[in-house]
Symmetry: C2
Subunit: 205 residues, 2 copies
């Protein structure tokens, strides 16, 4: 799936670079979704994106460079976690958002292929680690707001809470490969909220 505004022959350099990068990113994710890491080739990404093969080789180096850049580019968006007004509401909405993204017929398979790639490619693993660390850091505001409202103990380790919310989801998706329905996502969030209230994550001064 190539973005609609992909215009490889544009005369405006800035825009052109950004569009080329997005087109290659889209093609990389689509190829990953269709064929997995083992089936990802520069040739297919070039073909699908409409960017010349030699350009892809020169700028991205190879398949690992394509995956790394797709993750780096994904990390430049303006995503923010839900803000529902309550700690429990935010955690539940965050879990549900993760669940939905992996259930998405387009986003889900390419994301799964990125996780597979992380098993096989150290650069992909490093890029994925960076992307997720950034997502977790952005999500910490959910816990900070709850501390400000007095909903959770002072000194709660926000990063630990965020990971507790989403870990059971990834466990079902990629480890046990069990169905991840809305109820399971809600229960993961509720468990993290209960553990936070009980002070399990109050490890910081």
């Amino acid at each position: 799936m190539v973005a609609a505004d992909t215009q490889p022959s544009s005369r405006r350099p800035g825009g052109r670079t950004a569009r080329t990068r997005a087109a290659v990113r889209d093609a990389t994710l689509a190829e990953l979704a269709a064929h997995g890491y083992a089936g990802l080739t520069v040739e297919a990404v070039a073909e699908r994106s409409g960017v010349h093969r030699t350009t892809v080789y020169r700028r991205w180096g190879g398949v690992d460079g394509l995956i790394v850049d797709a993750l780096d580019l994904a990390g430049t968006d303006d995503w923010q976690p839900p803000d529902t007004g309550t700690f429990a509401g935010d955690c539940g909405a965050l879990a549900e958002e993760v669940r939905r993204s992996f259930a998405d017929p387009v986003e889900g398979p390419s994301a799964a292929a990125v996780f597979e790639a992380a098993f096989r490619s150290p650069p992909a693993a490093e890029a994925l680690r960076g992307f997720l660390a950034d997502r977790h850091a952005r999500s910490e505001v959910v816990v900070e707001r709850a501390m400000t409202r007095g909903e959770v103990p002072a000194g709660t380790d926000a990063g630990a809470v965020v990971r507790a919310v989403v870990a059971p989801l990834y466990h079902r998706l990629f480890i046990t490969r069990e169905v991840l329905d809305a109820e399971a996502a809600a229960r993961a969030a509720a468990a993290a909220v209960a553990a936070t209230s009980a002070g399990v994550f109050s490890s910081k001064g």
Copy 2:
């Protein structure tokens, strides 16, 4: 996957077949640890195990059959979860046991390769799902004992508790690829215990 009692040429069916199967299992896991799923070949497993290549092909079919049988064989052991006398103790010991197994220099890499294989091979994914479901089912006795002792609410969903204990460990190991130390394992167990006490997993009558 070829059934374990397929013995085309053996004269002493039980012992020889079992030893051959174990040797092939050991070789499969060692090859997976060394080269990953992409590098797993029947030839290398035959060479390492000392079992003839044509025998391996005939009985296991190929690399997927080798992984499936290694998991099926792993599931025939007599593993039982820790029994420390308390719910919190059992959950902590279970988490620590999982952490140690993946930190093991031999067991860890081959287990990681099996999880990688599950991304790429539907038969491997199905065998891993079965293996883990059996491990989780065996671990439920930890929760059953705690209910008998009155440590956790009646009607607690034991399977959900077990998954809550281990999910954060797998999340660190294979998703965020963050360090999984003893403290992180202990905190995962403590969070599951707190959520259980709070009634989050009390979904059954």
